[in-house]
Amino acid sequence: MRISFTLNGAPQSLECPAHWTLLRMLRDVAGRTDAKHGCGEGVCGACAVLVDGVAMNSCSVLAPQVEGTGVETVAGLASGGELHPLQAEMVERGGVQCGFCTPGMVLSALEAVRVGAAGSDAEIRHSLAGNLCRCTGYGKIVAAVAAYRDGDPDGAAIASDPPGEHRAKGGEGAAPAPGVGIGP
């Protein structure tokens, strides 16, 4: 079936079987391999993406369910060759080792900070439950998220804003498409 949505801000109209998962459509139709296929059953978080600003396991969403939405993958975060501040903190603080969990980890953490669910280390850990990392032991990831929450000059504003307003803060004044805030 034909599925229309925006992917990292760019309109898409893809031909995809109705029984494919969002993850499979992203990887095998759209070529967006930054959404990782881990467990395939909603447990590991490697496939997490944002749908209208809300984090979801794309292995547990069917492709037709994103009709008319805005989907963001981690590849949409960097802007003008610069890492998103949360990505930079992950690199800076050693929150990345093999990197397989990182796309889902970053998107889950970004949503947690935006909705105000990352106020303490305990809250960050609660918000990242189900994003499994076998390398770092989590401590450095939690530290990176906390640093992003505290250090980003727009951090406080992001936390209270609805999804979609982030990039507009420092941008050229052009409003992003609904639900697509962090795409280029």
């Binding site: 029984h19 395939g40 059953e41 909603g42 809300v54 396991n57 969403v61 889950s108 189900g130």
Partner: protein, 294 residues
């Protein structure tokens, strides 16, 4: 693994959804709400419906009622809303507390109250909430609407009173008012794992505020469905809930439940976890009831 091919329908109304679900009688049609149990089960080959009827566009997400009394929640209320909405936390605080234990945040972002109850996992947190509050499942079929008391709702492993071709459209919870309190406790292998045991409790004080007039206690993870455990409730009625009484509750619940061994824990461990969860949920419910009474 991936889901097997199926037909996909996205109706705009409950009537259209019921028509699609009625199907031809030969093929299996399943409603799709949040999909956080169904889609993984399809990916694992444990479910292979011929037709999925996506409920996303149905207007079943609102809630009505406030304070004490009955609160009616739309079946498509998401776990995320139960967990994070201050309004719902005030109306159905036990549901709000239990929702934090469901799956992980990505699952809660998408999973729904009606989907979870209809799926009827034996370890369902929201199943214990429905039983501990008490209330009714509002089930809609082509013949109209009927209500089923939650004490009659869960029939067994993944089986409920919702018949083929019907939809659970709303959830009515009988939330007690002043002089009552709620508690929830869960033991799981990991933060986001299925419950080894989970307990939900609601305690209502007597008029003097000194003893428990009524206690409702429901457990998950210990049988083929979420269950009320009357043996634990009976210990509390008419008594002040203190440490010695909680020890008796734990012993009574451990004795009453009959879980089975599985790949992760023994039946004995699960029964003891159930007793501990029950005691801690009731202790929290008692504390909250007493705080409210002061």
């Amino acid at each position: 693994m991936y889901p097997r091919p199926f037909e996909y329908a996205r109706p705009e109304s409950v009537a259209e959804a019921l028509e699609a679900l009625a199907g031809d009688g030969a093929s299996e049609a399943r409603p799709l709400a949040g999909g956080q149990s169904l889609v993984p089960m399809m990916s694992l080959g444990l479910a292979a419906p011929d037709l999925l009827v996506d409920l996303a566009r149905l207007p079943l997400a609102g809630s009505e009622g406030n304070g004490g009394g009955t609160v009616r929640l739309g079946a498509l209320t998401r776990h995320r809303e139960l967990e994070r909405s201050a309004e719902l936390a005030a109306r159905v605080p036990l549901a709000s507390e239990a929702a934090r234990f469901i799956g992980n945040p990505r699952v809660r972002n998408r999973g729904t109250l009606g989907g979870s109850l209809s799926h009827a996992d034996p370890a369902s947190e929201l199943g214990t909430v429905a039983l501990a509050y008490g209330g009714r499942a509002v089930i809609t079929g082509q013949g109209g609407e009927r209500s089923v008391d939650f004490d009659e709702f869960f029939h067994g492993f993944f089986e409920t009173a919702v018949e083929s071709g019907e939809l659970l459209t709303a959830v009515e919870l009988d939330v007690p008012g002043a002089g009552s309190g709620h508690g929830f406790h869960e033991v799981a292998g990991r933060a986001d794992d299925f419950a080894i045991a989970a307990a939900a409790a609601v305690v209502t004080l007597d008029e003097a505020g000194a003893a428990c007039a009524d206690a409702r206690l429901a457990l998950a993870g210990i049988a083929d469905r979420p269950l009320r455990i009357g043996a634990g409730e009976d210990v509390c009625r008419g008594a002040a809930i203190d440490e010695p009484l909680l020890d008796r509750v734990a012993a009574a619940v451990t004795e009453a439940v009959t879980p089975e061994d599985d790949a992760f824990v023994s039946a004995e461990y699960r029964a003891r976890a159930a007793g501990t969860c029950a005691a801690r949920a009731l202790a929290a419910a008692w504390e909250r009831a007493r705080e409210g009474a002061r």
